[in-house]
Symmetry: C3
Subunit: 381 residues, 3 copies
């Protein structure tokens, strides 16, 4: 019949108020994955991103285009219309928009009315990803798209997976900053019991947070052991570096080798995963994943085995985060969170997300005074 004491609950709530949650306004001034490149085609693609309905398509010469999915005339979704050359023709009354969003024809009018149009958004295609900027267009800079050169390099074999996640992207981001959950949520796929308590280092800088966890010696779970030829090996090393690169992008690099073999003669296997966490609505997320390996390039069986295994593992996150978001939504203000030391990076990242949101939306920080008192992390006994 133990409940946390009133002061611990209050302290948790004070700390929680400084972290982003499902109610925090989106960070718009950022590049997000809008779609996998092969989703954007000569067929209109309707998609909600950061709460806004947009329509995406590709011009005749292959450029991706994104614009608001609402005709200026009677609000009909443009995605229910048709592509004609490089224009979209509204499916209700035939208003025609060019690829800059300008209305250039109204069929019932001899002359097209002036000044009608819809907003378009900067989009940049890089390898398998179409990136999009939905914030202030005057500060959109393609150079600030996170550098993921392995997404376009021949040294890596890639596969991709997509999940429509019924959870705020905030909880997905925190999930990705925390690897202790592998021993529990992923006990049957990518986790091992020693994972949660393995030593870890952190790297923190403004807007970048990384966690390096070293599990060694260990027995790798089959999903890693089999492709790396380390099945049955009890002296394996598994070193994982996970980095929050932006509110929409995490990169994970995993190194695997047999620690019993000397450094010069052992083989090292690397797997990279990019997690792209694009908010759809306050309670849903487009979860784009790209996985790559630098070994067994032409082995389709390895590709199939790892794709299947990783998909099962990420599905566990999707299932769990769906439960979590629903639960937090149900409990509302009562869903206070008591943090522990392993939450450090997740807490810092959620504070960063909140600060970005406050700055961008010009919202005063009502918790500023309480900040020095806030003790987000529970002390050990």
């Amino acid at each position: 019949m133990t409940s946390p004491s009133a002061s611990l609950v209050q302290s948790a709530k004070t700390a929680g108020a400084r972290m982003a949650d499902r109610g925090t306004p989106f960070v718009f001034n950022e590049w997000y994955a809008a779609a996998f490149s092969d989703e954007v085609s000569r067929v209109l693609l309707k998609r909600t991103l950061l709460g806004k309905r947009v329509v995406l398509f590709r011009t005749q010469d292959g450029r991706p285009v994104a614009m608001d999915d609402r005709c200026a005339h009677r609000s009909y979704p443009l995605s229910a219309g048709a592509i004609d050359g490089d224009t979209i023709v509204c499916g209700y009354h035939g208003f025609r928009y060019d690829d800059r969003g300008n209305c250039i024809q109204v069929p019932s009018a001899a002359k097209c009315p002036k000044g009608i149009g819809v907003r378009t958004y900067p989009v940049v295609e890089r390898g398998p990803v179409v990136w999009m900027w939905m914030g202030r267009s005057d500060i959109a800079d393609a150079n600030s798209i996170v550098d993921l050169s392995w997404l376009t390099s021949d040294r890596w074999v890639r596969v991709k997976v997509y999940f429509h996640l019924k959870s705020s992207y905030v909880y997905l981001c925190e999930n990705l900053m925390d690897t202790t959950h592998l021993s529990y949520m992923h006990a049957s796929t990518i986790g091992t019991p020693d994972y949660a308590s393995a030593p870890a280092q952190t790297e923190k800088s403004s807007g970048r947070f990384a966690l390096i966890r070293t599990v060694s010696p260990t027995r790798l779970p089959p999903i890693w052991a089999k492709p790396a030829g380390l099945e049955g090996v009890s002296t394996a090393a598994r070193i994982v570096r996970g980095e929050f690169m932006s509110p929409g992008v995490f990169e994970f690099t995993t190194r695997l080798y047999d620690g019993a073999v000397s450094e010069c003669s052992r083989s090292e296997y690397r797997i990279k995963v990019a997690h792209m966490t694009t908010p759809e609505t306050a309670g849903t997320t487009h979860y784009f994943i790209l996985m790559a390996r630098d070994f067994a390039h032409d082995d389709r069986d390895v590709t199939a085995f790892m794709t299947k295994g990783f998909s099962a593992a990420f599905q566990e996150d999707v299932t769990g985060l769906t439960l979590l978001d629903e639960q937090i939504g149900h409990f509302g203000h009562d869903a206070y969170e008591i943090s522990v030391p392993s939450d450090e990076l997740g807490v810092l990242m959620r504070r960063y997300l909140r600060q970005r949101s406050l700055d961008e939306h010009g919202i005063a920080d009502s918790t500023a005074d309480a900040a020095t008192e806030a003790r987000p992390i529970s002390e050990s006994s």
Copy 2:
């Protein structure tokens, strides 16, 4: 990246505020189609009309009756009870109501309590339609039911169609006042490319708005060409008169003939359609349609062909308006509408609907001062 200028958006919003939309309170002091006649029978019919739950049935001598679908005792729906003679017996505790809504028996009480009852509504049956008045009963006048004598005339062959539409009736009404959408929403059924830009005349009087559109010479779409024997004829004329007769009734008359044949020797084919647009809730509409022709009276194949073709065309409206209403609901205040000259009648009709609502509900017009400045229709360049 073009968006309409702030001043154009503001002007659109100002004009929009003067038009009825999905949030405008219903006009109750009006006759609406409550049901097709053959729907009202000796089986209790539960139906929501103008946001109110009613139950309809037919007495032993055939009179339709409508009353509130809520027992005065414990609110149980009367429609879940039973008809007994000309009375309804509540399915929970057996309270019995006569056809005037009076409670005349309470089984557990030796004497029936006084003064209990439910509201009944004036209903008038005319041919295939049961009309109903849900406003102030002291001003209900059957003479104000719109005159649609062809609904009961032997000169016309009729078929009927019903759609449960997930959209405010306002957008259905505007759709019916605008025929330029035939070239786009109905490109594969009843529209032709020349329709949107064909010349049109308008008739405007208080509470009546009509549009006459003449498409000539033209090639008729198959749905018209085949029954009229004008397939392959490139000199056809198609003259359509559509009229808003009341908030719940539109009448369309289409005349078809071969314009290359002299007036005295050519055959003329006429089709009439009554569109009955009865609000169910703020976001749903009972869409009753009656179609009639004055030719090929006994040709069942023509009946089947036209029924199928028209149903497909009206289904396009239903699909499109469902998208539209959902979209407008999503965008809310941001779903400003920029009107063009072909919207004139639709705009006038929506202003009229709003004014009827304001008058009936005694709501002051907050846009009155802005009225003279409002420029609903965008100027051509």
Copy 3:
């Protein structure tokens, strides 16, 4: 076109304001059936009771345990975790809770943080029912659980049925206090036409309300007649005593015999039913039913026949109350209720439920002044 007069409506609303309805806060300081005993096992059982999410399980030595279904760390549902011995391990990060709700292990921390835990609830198992107290734990007293000794007696043969009811428990309680509805809602199962008007006596004391209805002579419906061997008998007696024992428990005892046979030589058949009406949410109820008979102990056919028949009858209540609650929710403040003499006990019970709620939640009674004027029961003419 009759509606109740404004004064009758006002009087009904005034009376209604003094009765519990679907908006009345729950009565927490009470024992409720949380589950049938065989539902609580070594598998975590997620359940919402009185609006709170709890998880139930059984310890290794068989004791039932109930605690809040929310990990103190990140709000993950504990029911999605695992039982390990007498502890629950959270499925997200492995926080471990003992059977008193104390967090005793955090895998990522060498030492477990102090003072973390979740609330547990007093539970008491009695025969086929696990009772639970969700109010102030300092006043929980197992002696106040209603005495239903026949639930554990060998003299009775029991079967159980469960319904997930989409209605406030208040309307289920009122339904159980009113047996006149048997003639209508249960006309084809357990009701007969003479039931609604049969004479009845009432017993009223603080928090206990009982109704004794004597239907005699009568023909029993098949569900009673067949097992009691009284088929075709027109001189049967059916005496039903129904009692509200607490906000969560009703007991019904039915006595059946042939009234034409003298008291000393006739056989009497008794059936007992416990209705446990545990609120799940404001609009849903866990409806647990236990039925027992004191005859034909070993006759499986009688068991099957009565189970099937009663289930069909209770399903009629479930169907009807689902309609009713939805209807009352739709009409809101307009769903005034006009009571009649047979509603007396139901009205008293709903007043009692409301008073318990007001007292427990420390809410001032805004209707107190109007109380003397309130005339809940309509006068006969």
